[in-house]
Subunit: 154 residues, 5 copies
Amino acid sequence: MKIGIADTTFARIDLASFVLSTLKKEVPSAKIERYTVPGFKDLPVACKKLIEEEHCAIVLALSMAGSAKIDEQCAAEASNGLQQVQLMTNTHILNVMVYTNEEKDEKKLYALAKDRVIKHTLNALALLQGKTTLTPFAGTGKRQGSNDAGTIRK
Amino acid sequence: MKIGIADTTFARIDLASFVLSTLKKEVPSAKIERYTVPGFKDLPVACKKLIEEEHCAIVLALSMAGSAKIDEQCAAEASNGLQQVQLMTNTHILNVMVYTNEEKDEKKLYALAKDRVIKHTLNALALLQGKTTLTPFAGTGKRQGSNDAGTIRK
Amino acid sequence: MKIGIADTTFARIDLASFVLSTLKKEVPSAKIERYTVPGFKDLPVACKKLIEEEHCAIVLALSMAGSAKIDEQCAAEASNGLQQVQLMTNTHILNVMVYTNEEKDEKKLYALAKDRVIKHTLNALALLQGKTTLTPFAGTGKRQGSNDAGTIRK
Amino acid sequence: MKIGIADTTFARIDLASFVLSTLKKEVPSAKIERYTVPGFKDLPVACKKLIEEEHCAIVLALSMAGSAKIDEQCAAEASNGLQQVQLMTNTHILNVMVYTNEEKDEKKLYALAKDRVIKHTLNALALLQGKTTLTPFAGTGKRQGSNDAGTIRK
Amino acid sequence: MKIGIADTTFARIDLASFVLSTLKKEVPSAKIERYTVPGFKDLPVACKKLIEEEHCAIVLALSMAGSAKIDEQCAAEASNGLQQVQLMTNTHILNVMVYTNEEKDEKKLYALAKDRVIKHTLNALALLQGKTTLTPFAGTGKRQGSNDAGTIRK
């Protein structure tokens, strides 16, 4: 099964490198198809082409969004587009977005981005294994980019 | 008829457990198909696959949303996706979302979530029975997660 | 020609009763198909099923929305879904929504709701008659739920 | 080629009259199909029917929106619906919307509406002539409902 | 391969001229198809026609948006429409939008617009070459209309 990676020249961190190193460690034999586009608004059609033209079984859509209001609007547009592609193709796309205002410090932002991308790469592998692979973790407050929030009990 | 349950590892309460115990009590013979995904943005395609690949007659989409602005945006995206899936498949999906800011106290939030999930599980069973099963309750101000609001009279 | 009515258990007024009494008076022979769902987010697929499975020529989608921000968001989602159903089926759906904050006084809210539902039932009958039945009233500031706004002249 | 006009009883100005007088002057032989609906949320499916059932080559969708927040929301829904219809039919729909808060004075609002409708009627005729009929005016800051904004030069 | 240019009479700068001069320099043999429409809300269907009727392999959608709230709403609608066209056609559309409030000074706005259009024309040419032509620049913080933001390192 082929795994797709869609990323952008707009992002300020090479997010795809974290996917590549994680896959190398976890599934050294994984077939990977990469597609780099200018910005996140170009990601939906890129993901659709990875699925329909390159036959990827799942795609990681990697992007970074600025903190201005127009950036949020564009991010929402891209996210809606990624939803549509998933429904048109019955294929998961993990929408891994990092907002630059999540962390002021660049080193911390880098660490957050790395954590989020690695965890979502592992999520993608779990989804490829089956519908209930993640079920033991349902309702456990998993987070990507920060510590898990944990379970709220009765 | 098969009932689908789609839930997330992001949620901090095992919402599916309330569906399972309710179905066990109400329809012990019910066939259930579960699909656990990372977050609510992954729910729409999971629901579509439950309907199209697993032939579920109805799906309960269970999720929790944080209180930040970005969480609301993501919840809206997921909801729009769930709308689209329903229209693409002519199948009801009960979108059961709990916002963490609905109750500050975790015990109260747990109780609210349990009440909402159980009532929507019963709603799902009613919808499976026919178009007018809920008609005697039309306009009666039913609520899930809190007390009913009741009817406004002339 | 069959007329569909989709309504909710969430609403606090039995909005469908106003449709039924209006139709009884105006078109006693009208065939009516009703579908009651939990909330307005369940209306779009219900309307689609009324059109595609029950062959309704037009549908009145009746709902009430609370005044919290999340209610507005849900109402917008439902409305977008109703738009999509109309375009997928080339069939009018009159989206009759009452916001609880339109009137603080419950008796006035009841009267507003009744006025809006009756007028939109008459609009539905006019649309069933043809594309230009309402043309003599084009630009005349018709309102449902309040007095007409009237025409602005040169 | 047939030109469609979709308008509403909600509008407070007979916007279609400006289309009719402009067409009479510019293209006396034009075939016109009109469709009047209650409000702007009913326009998208009306336009789709004008294109698919009445074979209109272009449609002018004429509407007025109030100034309350809910009116803006409804206008956005209608506009999104009109976008979808254009993409489903590969046909232009000129979405001519007048907001009542664009001008406080009713006479000025009437003049604004008239100017906007006439200019968009001429735009429709230009689009029917070909893809580059408007090219000589590209980037020249044309406005409908007010004076042109003009070109910004180097 | 044909390159499409969709532009508007609403824009106050002849954005297409920057595409034309860039293509003349970079790919003198490029076949170009142009489509000029009134405003950005008319761009999605124009782009769809350029792709489906004129067989363009990629389209540059060029527009300018005012700074009022309604302009932002319209820009969002146009952007969502452009997303849909890309997914319906599996073809990239570079959505090149300039907001008049990005620069108060008209000369600076002109320079910004020129920079953005030229860089996106080069992006279009790169995308036509293949999925990994831009990969060497992934995560390097490329910007159009301003200086690049650069890479954030570990």
